[in-house]
Symmetry: C2
Subunit: 266 residues, 2 copies
Amino acid sequence: MARETWGHGSTGRDVRLACRSGEIDYSTAGTAPGYVQANLAILPYEYAEEFLRFANANPRACPVIGVAERGSPFVPSLGEDLDLRTDLPAYRVWENGEMVAEVKDVSDYWRDDLVSFVIGCSLSFEEALLQEGLPLRHVENGQHVPMYRTSIPCVPAGRFHGPTVVSMRPLVPAQAIRAIQITTRFPSVHGAPIHIGLPEAIGIADIAKPDYGDPNPPREGEIPVFWACGVTPQAVIAQAKPSFAITHAPGSMLVTDRKNTEFSIL
Amino acid sequence: MARETWGHGSTGRDVRLACRSGEIDYSTAGTAPGYVQANLAILPYEYAEEFLRFANANPRACPVIGVAERGSPFVPSLGEDLDLRTDLPAYRVWENGEMVAEVKDVSDYWRDDLVSFVIGCSLSFEEALLQEGLPLRHVENGQHVPMYRTSIPCVPAGRFHGPTVVSMRPLVPAQAIRAIQITTRFPSVHGAPIHIGLPEAIGIADIAKPDYGDPNPPREGEIPVFWACGVTPQAVIAQAKPSFAITHAPGSMLVTDRKNTEFSIL
């Protein structure tokens, strides 16, 4: 079924049910416009307290918007009837830092000791930027936003530590100022940029060579604007090599019942 | 009397009365901490509507925080017992765009057709920046902020037109982002920056050579942050060469009863 079916007019729950039935087994990009899409990280209980401490200490990079109870695949605050085992199009399963499977349903991998973390995503603030008419080059080009490992260390917590990963959007200066104002209103989904201009000041040697995503260096008259990125916790988890983990597959997000606008504080 | 007398603990009214009595006849810098200091522009009635339209169309550069009634030297909303004829330390009197006098009292120049405009000043938001620990180089150096005529035209209104003048403060990127957030809260005193980075994009050929004030170019790791500046209306008035005008002398501001914090919208 064409992705367009899940565009305008579809709700987060519509999309989750379509994922659950297997009707959507690709990217959630463009589905359920206006609804919060989120990253998923699932860890054994023995890592949960450390990971929560890590998130608490690094809220810009790792904004946790929901935590399930131990062993539960449900997060009622984010969605009626939401089941983390089935409601994403695709998952990755990890053992000791190695991906061991990519699957469309993790019911067979579920364990009583798993704790699930739902982490905010820049798609929420990008919607607000686009609605104000700010151009997003990677969206225009149908590409992934460029992302960079920086020299800014995360505050470590237990086994979780590593560099802050940032996403970069090139904007002309007046747009950059406006983007700072708009994203400041969304502290629970990365919030304001953490850096602007001067890539070398945060350890980015070549702005044209991102560590993840597609290159989109600033053009003449533009400056790079850097936001803390949800890839940070993914990279930190990968580095910690937990005995077991489940994450969303890239682009296959959890679509919730919450609206992006609900996450604006002003 | 030493300036320190009018520092901590003095009110706007204390300072105005000391100006009126001649006790303060120098800069108001450092007096009545926390109270709004403002620019003053006084024009004949025949220019008033055009100037108000100019201000309305250019609120970032020309934020009018009070207008007196025709012929009146009082602005009750800004101060109990405030008298614009006597309450500034020094004034400049202009005829046809030429300064004809610098005086400590303009009672002898007062006319029934004068309309007085009180215009917000960056001192209000600078207090907020300093209170959050952001460094202001020109303050540290005891200098005037560097200011530049830009290629950004003001929206013209009648005889009033000209380039936007900006003030520049060099900051490291994270401080620049914070400064944008803080000054966004002060829309009635210039508000958020209008430009950041890339001086050449707004017609500034050499950041080390300001048109007004003292040079303070960004150092390694800093970027220039540009706010619309209250010198804009002064320059626009000078260019319009009105038959008559009175302004504050540089640094001799109107000190009001309003607190800077009252001008924060958030």
